[in-house]
Symmetry: C2
């Protein structure tokens, strides 16, 4: 859907037409490369939708901030992929894999600076507020990534800790993108907070749904290997909730599944799903997802613009949440 959205096309066009110095090639080629892998451009679209929601006169004024958000997102992908030793991103080689770690570190840094450079092309009177929001969410995304790495090493991650981590790592960027759009359209602080909260809650619901679909999604449409999170022992909401609920017998089963690497993939997934079913954590995940979704819609309802103006954002939220892949 998003690739075809007129805003998505606007953004991709801007990115494709951006000019770069020829030298140093190892600094700029990786930036052009990661941006060409494109992705769904959801975050920059949210900036434009936030601006539109609050009736911005000239949508062009919101383009630099939307590009800043997209650049920031891609900077974080380059650096996260180094830290996670990920070989692939969107089906293509990651930057550190295609070049090397040093190139990935430095071109990531340059892309982060370029994000701020785009932000600086916004209307001057809005730059201080935009910079405040951007800095806040950028630092929170760093905190989220550090917590995510920390959680890999500790055994008892609480549900609250997990929700806080996904809020920081992925959701504040969605909320911040919408808020920046609102700032560009001169929305007041209260309205800014409502649209920010809508985005953050939507983002948390989306991540929870991702955890759910990784286990229960349709293999035909999910796009990733179903059961992938179980196989790599990822601490998802399902796993964390199971750990919280298990009796002593199930605790042993869980420990065996996590620690014995001789169990065949299919068996591991199937036995873990039995545990999930026994403690009904699949239903719990759906429930908590719905709760965040409701929170998000409540915030959207409270925003002081007409229903007609909200239609597009509502459609986007519906599409995101009813996706099966």
């Amino acid at each position: 859907m998003f690739e075809q959205h007129p805003y998505g096309k606007l953004i991709s066009e801007y990115i494709q037409n951006a000019e770069y110095p020829k030298q140093p090639a190892d600094l700029y080629d990786p930036i052009k490369y990661i941006l060409s892998l494109s992705g769904k451009r959801i975050r920059p679209i949210l900036v434009l939708m936030g601006a539109k929601l609050f009736g911005i006169d000239n949508l062009q004024e919101a383009i630099p901030a939307s590009i800043a958000i997209e650049y920031f997102h891609n900077f974080s992908l380059i650096h996260d992929d180094i830290m996670d030793r990920a070989p692939l991103r969107r089906g293509k080689e990651t930057v550190h894999q295609k070049w090397n770690d040093n190139v990935a570190i430095l071109s990531g840094d340059a892309l982060l600076v370029k994000a701020y450079k785009e932000l600086g092309k916004s209307p001057s009177d809005r730059i201080p507020s935009l910079l405040d929001v951007f800095n806040k969410i950028a630092l929170e995304v760093c905190e989220g990534q550090q917590l995510d790495m920390d959680f890999e090493k500790i055994s008892n991650v609480s549900e609250d800790d997990y929700l806080n981590m996904i809020r920081l790592k992925t959701s504040v960027l969605l909320g911040g993108a919408l808020q920046m759009g609102a700032i560009l359209a001169h929305a007041d602080k209260e309205q800014q907070q409502l649209i920010y909260d809508f985005g953050v809650n939507l983002g948390i619901a989306f991540q929870l749904q991702d955890d759910y679909l990784d286990v229960y999604g349709d293999p035909e449409t999910f796009g990733k290997q179903v059961g992938g999170d179980i196989l790599c022992n990822k601490k998802t909401i399902l796993r964390i909730k199971t750990e919280q609920l298990v009796d002593s017998e199930a605790r042993e089963e869980l420990a065996e599944l996590i620690n014995f690497d001789t169990i065949a993939d299919a068996e591991k997934v199937s036995r873990m799903k039995n545990l999930y079913a026994k403690f009904e954590v699949d239903r719990y995940a759906e429930e908590i997802k719905s709760r965040y979704m409701e929170l998000a819609y409540n915030k959207l309802d409270a925003i002081a613009v007409s229903e007609a103006q909200k239609a597009e954002l509502r459609k986007l939220a519906d599409t995101l949440m009813h996706r099966t892949r």
Copy 2:
């Protein structure tokens, strides 16, 4: 000298009193650590001096931008040290050595964002201009670091390429720091350009002097191992100029010194110094350094403020250039 400068104390105090979230510790502890290694604080002092030069009313208004420059400098040290595999910085373990690469990447990123956060505390009406300058120099520093790494791998680095690299990697930050001070004091574009050019030329002269002192400095006062650049085959102005001037006999001698790792350290340094003497590149390095120094002073002369107001900057430049260590 600089540690004792009242501006230096002001800056160190601000940095020491800055508060950090307790968590995630692996994100914020490395930041506190690198900032506590302190260094000379020359760059943030330059912001304050630039502001003072153009008669800023309230020096406090220039503190956030000066902290932004210091944070940026320390971010670049953390990431450069990863890329250079440097074990030590200011005599202490580097961040990637004390923690690990991932911690160094992410805490560096967070420190870069924190630099922008400080910048955002400047008077609102100056933020757009400050952001422009900061973004420009930040990207140039990335370019300089990439060129520096590129130069390690190629055999024929020209003098112009080298001068351009040191300009980007180290000098634009000095010029930019001064310019940001000028912006804070409402100096016009022409005056901004003059003080920027003063800083850039001073920075180039300083780096050329560093190349010279690495070979000819007094071992008692230089602080680093004299001859260190020769031993690690660093492409300094001396080495590059020698390569440009050598006859066929000397070319063989040079190649042997660079490529044979069985030559004892003292012999390598002494034979390389003979080559430098033969082609008088030591004198050339001093000459070209003086040329940049003169350029710098010319720019300072042209600035439209009283000599009395320039005295402090002139003293700083003199101190930097007559240092023996």
